[in-house]
């Protein structure tokens, strides 16, 4: 039994790794490829508009990317807001955990025979679902039952090394607004 389980799991793991496709994108306009994630870091190369990049990691305003330069790869940092990811046509491609199509996923996780929502469509929260919605007061009460206090949330934040900071709001053109919290 145990052997059989592992026999099933190993190929599944392999499949999972193989399915984590690299995230690809391109730079919107001519962009500096920096050696480090700082504005004043050395510029490794100037990437022309539409240069294809492979996402390696994300770090605040920076995206570490791999760029093909003839036969070798160059790795450096570009501003993440200068990058657009390629349209993959797959609603789950952006997730770091896999790339199964949503429709397939739905079939896997919710067999039609046991799904209470199958008659109104599998997505529920869409145009049809919203048009046909009837108020669900019991669901509201359920939601209210999961609410946490400010103190609980603060403790949870501490556990996650989250320290509050004072940050002003910004105008459309990037000017700090006065009503700073």
């Amino acid at each position: 039994m145990r052997t059989l389980r592992w026999g099933l799991l190993v190929p599944l793991f392999l499949w999972a790794f193989a399915s984590i496709a690299a995230e690809m994108g391109y730079v919107l306009r001519t962009t500096d490829l920096k050696a480090k994630p700082f504005l004043d870091a050395d510029t490794i190369a100037k990437l022309p508009e539409k240069t294809q990049v492979e996402v390696v990691t994300r770090q605040g305003p920076w995206m570490q990317v791999k760029v093909k330069d003839n036969d070798k790869d160059r790795v450096g940092f570009v501003r993440m807001l200068q990058v657009r990811l390629n349209v993959t046509g797959n609603a789950l491609a952006g997730a770091s955990t896999g790339s199964t199509a949503t429709t397939v996923a739905t079939a896997v996780t919710r067999p039609a025979s046991s799904s209470p929502t199958v008659t109104t469509g599998v997505r529920g929260f869409d145009e049809v679902g919203l048009k046909n919605a009837k108020p669900a007061p019991a669901e509201f009460d359920k939601m209210a039952g999961f609410a946490v206090s400010a103190e609980q949330a603060q403790q949870y934040a501490r556990n996650g090394q989250l320290a509050p900071r004072s940050v002003p709001y910004y105008s459309e053109d990037g000017k700090p607004l006065k009503d700073v919290k």
Binding site: L85, A93, E127, A133, E139, G160, Q161, Y170
Partner: protein, 288 residues
Amino acid sequence: MRAKLVLTSIALISAAVVAGCQGGKGLQVGNIDVGALTQNISGLKPITEPEEIQMGKGMTETLLGASPLTDDAQLQIYVNNVGRWVAQQSERPNLPWHFAVNDSDAINAVAAPGGDVIVTKGMLRVLRNESELAGVLGHEVAHVVRKHQLTAIQKGAFMGLLTQTVQVTSSGRQSEQLVNALIGPTKELYLRGLDKSDEYEADRMGVVIAARAGYDAWGLPNSIQTLGTIKPDDNAVALLFKTHPTPASRLEKLSVAMGTSFDVYASGQQNTERYQHAIQGIRVAAQK
């Protein structure tokens, strides 16, 4: 003991406004002071916070009617912990904030007046980490802080009902009348969406609120960037794309607003592990 709080009848008032009642002062319909109600709905006299919360509850009940909560208590509590912490950094920390994950595979998140925020299971699946979730929730919190949905309802564009006085008992249990009066306007609002300018503002504020909470401020931009990878004709994003500006224009606007001023907040947390652990129960079977 059943002291009643008369909640503004949005319908009645807007009808009065539309009908061109001259400010309505002194006008009485039965024993209802239409003048006072007109002032409320036309924005001269703002809807009180308790009224806003009751309205939000009615709207949220309809939203949850489209898709109920996903059956994962740990996940619901997790999203409430993150959401509440994010909301604490806003200008309205003391609202009765509720966060819910519904059972929909669509990719979306919505907010209702008074502090109710719903995020779909499908949205959680495409986010990478807690900073992206915090950004998305920060965007929704901003809608509530700026009363975008409340104002849209108040503007009277959604009023189909003419004479209905909505009463709410002091115990907080709202009348069926209120819920019923709000069903139509709620559906219309969430099918049509807010003004684009409201969405751009919620993006700018969401980034700031998440940064205040100690998160990597680029969580929201990263999540929007991900939305841009999905084909617009994919059903999973149909409603989201119909009700929001395109991901490309949202990113363009954020790029201008954030510039390099936010680089000083680059040290925020992403909390990827905690996030991935929290959503493991809703990953599709093949992903587990």
